[in-house]
Amino acid sequence: MDSLHGLMELVRDDLGVPLDIPGDADADLADLPGWDSLNLLRLVILLEENGHPVPVHRLLLARSLHEMYTLVKERR
């Protein structure tokens, strides 16, 4: 998971959120079908498993997947 595209694939394939890649990169998370706060927690775990630990309270600041990816990059 070394790119925004990779993060979006993780969300689509592992969380089952039907994403348009890359079209939904900047979409508000609330505008993504099937997205909810539990998916955010599952994404935290997936990021950990992929070697990119990000605390939940940091990821809560993100309004889009693009912003999430920026947070992941900042913590490398």
Binding site: L32, L41, R42
Partner: protein
């Protein structure tokens, strides 16, 4: 002077009531609110979607939410957004005896919704999959949340991001499998409901407050399981026949029963007394 948790209302929260905008269960909702000070209603998204108004009628119903609605690009997200606001406004309109179109939904700094100009009633909204849920209270504050009772949470490793150390011990003591997972779903919905009631959302870290087991009075607990709040908060969890786990958190500000929440007749008694006093002085 009110004392939190000192309300002489009856049994606090009853089973959520199934409703549709033009259904016949609204009297039950009004009775529930009058008798207990709180009511929870639920509806199926698939039942409401065909009833959604279109064009200008939808714009009128949504009011200031229209702009947000137009910003949503996915049709199913838009429909859910509109249907949830329609349910909330019909629920509030039913208990306030007002026209849903005339009610204005507003949001506080943390996104917490409220009915502008109608502070005799507090509201909360939740939706998941095909379920729409609205909580109403005249006691003080309310938060509601719903989740599919069998959503995979425990085996997905979510417990350590949601639970206090004490809760993790309690969960580990439950039979593995469905029961333990449902225990975690219950805790999740309780925490979501409580954090919605206090207007914090997940910014209030879920691992720093907890709840004890069901079947006894449920209170907020500190991470080590010691009491965190008192009788001013009450919590209930229900599992609907449709398979959803629903939790509600109600803060009792001690206002006591509100027999007449209607928007057209409700007057603040202190205000009435002040006006009467002023009129009496004029007469003298």
């Amino acid at each position: 002077m009110t004392a939190p948790g000192n309300s002489p209302l009856g049994p606090p929260l009853s089973e959520p009531i199934a409703v549709t905008p033009w259904g016949n269960t609204w009297d039950q909702v009004r009775d529930e609110l009058a008798g207990h000070g709180s009511a929870i209603v639920h509806a199926k998204l698939s039942d409401l979607e065909p009833e959604l108004p279109a064009g200008q009628d939808l714009r009128t119903l949504l009011g200031r939410d229209w702009t947000r609605y137009m910003d949503l690009t996915h049709a199913d997200v838009r429909n859910r957004y509109a249907a949830s606001r329609m349910l909330l406004k019909y629920a509030a309109g039913a208990v306030l005896r007002g026209d849903p179109d005339d009610l204005e939904l507003a949001y506080g700094p943390t996104g917490r919704p409220y009915l502008r100009g109608c502070d005799q009633i507090d509201i909360s909204l939740s939706h998941t999959e095909d379920l729409l849920l609205v909580g109403l209270t005249t006691r003080g504050l309310i938060g509601v949340d719903a989740e599919w009772a069998d959503r995979d949470m425990y085996d997905a490793g979510l417990g350590r991001h949601i639970c206090t150390p004490y809760e993790l011990i309690l969960l580990a003591g439950m039979p593995a499998g469905e029961e333990r997972n449902r225990g975690l779903v219950r805790l999740w919905t309780l925490k979501e409901a409580y954090s919605k009631a206090i207007g914090q959302g997940m910014q209030f870290r879920f691992t720093e407050f907890g709840f004890g087991p069901d079947g006894r009075p449920v209170r907020v607990q500190r991470p080590d399981g010691t009491p965190g709040t008192g009788d001013e908060w009450l919590f209930r969890t229900f599992v609907l026949k449709s398979g959803y786990c629903v939790s509600a958190a109600v803060y009792d500000a001690g206002f006591g029963p509100l027999r007449d929440p209607e928007i057209t007749t409700m007057l603040d008694q202190d205000c009435v007394d002040a006006i009467n006093e002023a009129l009496d002085e004029e007469d003298d």
